[in-house]
Amino acid sequence: MAGSEPLSFGLTIDEELCSRCSLCVYTCPFEALTLLKGELPEERKVEVDREKCKLCGLCYTICPLDAITVQYYSMEDLLEMARQLCLKTGERSLVVACKGSNPTDRSIEEKVGRRGIPVLRVPCAGRVPMDFYFRLLSEGVADRLHVFPCEEEFCRLKEGGKISFLKLDYLRSLLAELKVDGGIISLTKSVNKAKVNEAKCIGCGNCEHYCPYEAAMVRSPGIATIDEEKCMGCGICLAVCPNFAISLEGYEQETMAENLAKLAEAAKRAVRGGVKPVLVFYCQWAYTPKPPEGDGSGICFMELPCAGRLDPLHVIQALNLGFEGVLVLACKEDMCNFEEAGAKRAEINLSSVKRALSQLGLDGKVEISFVHPKYPREAEEALSSFLNKIKGER
C-alpha cells in the first residue's frame, strides 16, 4: 500500500442525484456544508468542510433524494451485528446504546429491567443512520427498540445527544404517520462518570493535576472528590491514580484485569494454533472492531472510554500474558472528544512505556496510531500494518 491514494472521507455527496435544494446546508449543526455558487451549472454544488463535519448524519437523514452517504459506521456491519445478537439471545427486543454512557450490558439490563436483552453498543447512538432503525424493524430483526443515548450535557461528541433525540423524534413521527405504535421505540438517557473510593485515596493529587475538566479536586485531609457536574468520563484519572482509587463503570482496574485474564486464554489458543497474538486497545470513538470479540485470528480487542485511560501497567501485563504486540488506536488530537487531553495523555503514557521497554529491546512490540474516525479506513490500515510488522518479526 503506497499510501498515495487519499483515504476516503466518511461523507460523500452524489452530484448526479443532488438537486442543490440546500436542505442539508440548513440542517447541518456544524455549518459544514455550503452550496457553491457559480455561472456554470457544474460550478454549483454542495461541498463539505472536512474539518467541520462531524459525520453526525443529519444531512443524510434530511436529504429527499438520498444523495448523501455517511459512513461513520458501516450499515451492513451494524445490521449483521444486530442480527447475530438477536439470533443468539432469541429475543425480539434490541437495545441500541451509546457505549460511553453504557459500558456494560449489566448497566443496561438494570435500566431496562430485564436480563438477557441483546445490546448493540455503538460509539454514538446519534450517528447511527436513521435507515438502520427502519431496517431493524422492517426486516424483522427486532420488534421493539430501546435506544440509550448519552444525556445532552454528557455527550462528548457535542450535539450527538441532541442529534439522536432529533432523529428519534423524526422516526417516531414517521411511525405515527404510518399508523405504527410509536411506543416500539423508547429512549433513555444515561451518563457514566468517574467516582473516588475515599478509603483507597492517598491524596496524591494526580487526578486533579491531569483532569481536563477540573472536575477532580484534592482537599485536606488528602481525599480526592470528583464533581459530578463537571466530569465527562474520560478516565484519565484512573490511569494516573497510584492506588486504583478511582472507578469508571466498565473500565475499572478490576474489570480491566479480569478482561485481560480472559484474553490471555485467547492468546494461548492463538499461540497453540501457530498465530502470534496481538492486543489492540482502542478508544471507543477511534474504532469499532467487527466482530467485537475478535475473529479467532489472534487479534484481541480491549475497549477504552478514551485512549487517555490507557494504563502502562496493562500494556506490560499484556506482554507478560503472551501477547506479541500491543497496538493502541487513539483519536487524532484535533478529533479528541476530551479537549485534546485524551490523545495527549495516551501519547505520553505510550512513550513512557516504550522507554521502559526499550531497556529490554521490546519497544518495537508496542505502538500507538492516531486515527481519524472520519476516515474510516485509517484504523483498518493502522491495524493491518501493525499486524504485518509483528508477523514479520523474528
Partner: protein, 219 residues
Amino acid sequence: MIVVKPKPIDEILGFLSKHKNVLVVGCDGCTTPPRGLREAQTQVNLLKLAAKLKGISLNLKASTIAKTCDKHIVYSTLASQLEGIDAILSLACGIGVQVLNEVFPQLPTYPGNDTIFNGMQEKEGGIFEERCKACGSCILGETGGICPIARCSKSLLNGPCGGCFEGKCEVTFNGEKHDCAWYLIYQRLKELGRLEDFKKLRPLKDWSLLVGPRSSMGV
C-alpha cells in the same frame, strides 16, 4: 515533593538476581511522580518480562506502604508480608530504602529509584523542576518567593551575574535552557512593589548548615 527517577532495569536485575522471592514495595507518601501500588505492579510486570528474557528465575510480589519514612508504619504494614521473602525492592525515595533496611535488617532492601531533588511538576510540560535545596536558611521572604539557591546555576545570593540573556541562564543542563532566577526575582519584586529589597546586599551564606548528616529536634 521528593522527585525520583526509576533506575535502569539492568541495574535492578543486578541487585535481584542473587535472590529468589522479592517483594516490590511502593510508597504512598510524597514521591513525585507517585510510586504507589500501581507503579509497584508495573515494576513487577516489567521485571517479570526482563527475567523471562534473560532466563533468570524470580518470584515477584507487589505491595505498598502509606509512608516509608516512619519506622512504626513500615513495621506494622510489612512485618506480616515477609514470609518467604529474601529481598525487598523499594520504590520510595532514598530515605525509605534506608528505613526499610533499618526496620528489617535481616533482609536487603534495594532502591528501585534514583532520588534526584526536591521539586514540583509543571502541568503543561510534565517536566519536574528543582525548587528547594534544604539549605537551612530560607531567604524566600526577601526574594519574593523565588529561591536563588535552588534555581540559580551558581546559587548566587546577590545576582544576577552577567550571564543572563533574554531572561535565560547561560548555563544549560542537557541542552535545556532554564530561567535566570534573579531575572525572575527582579520581575517578582517589581510586581510586589518591593524593588528596594532587590538592592539590599545579602551577607555571606552560612553554608555549614548544608553539611551533614543533619538532624533536628523538630518543631
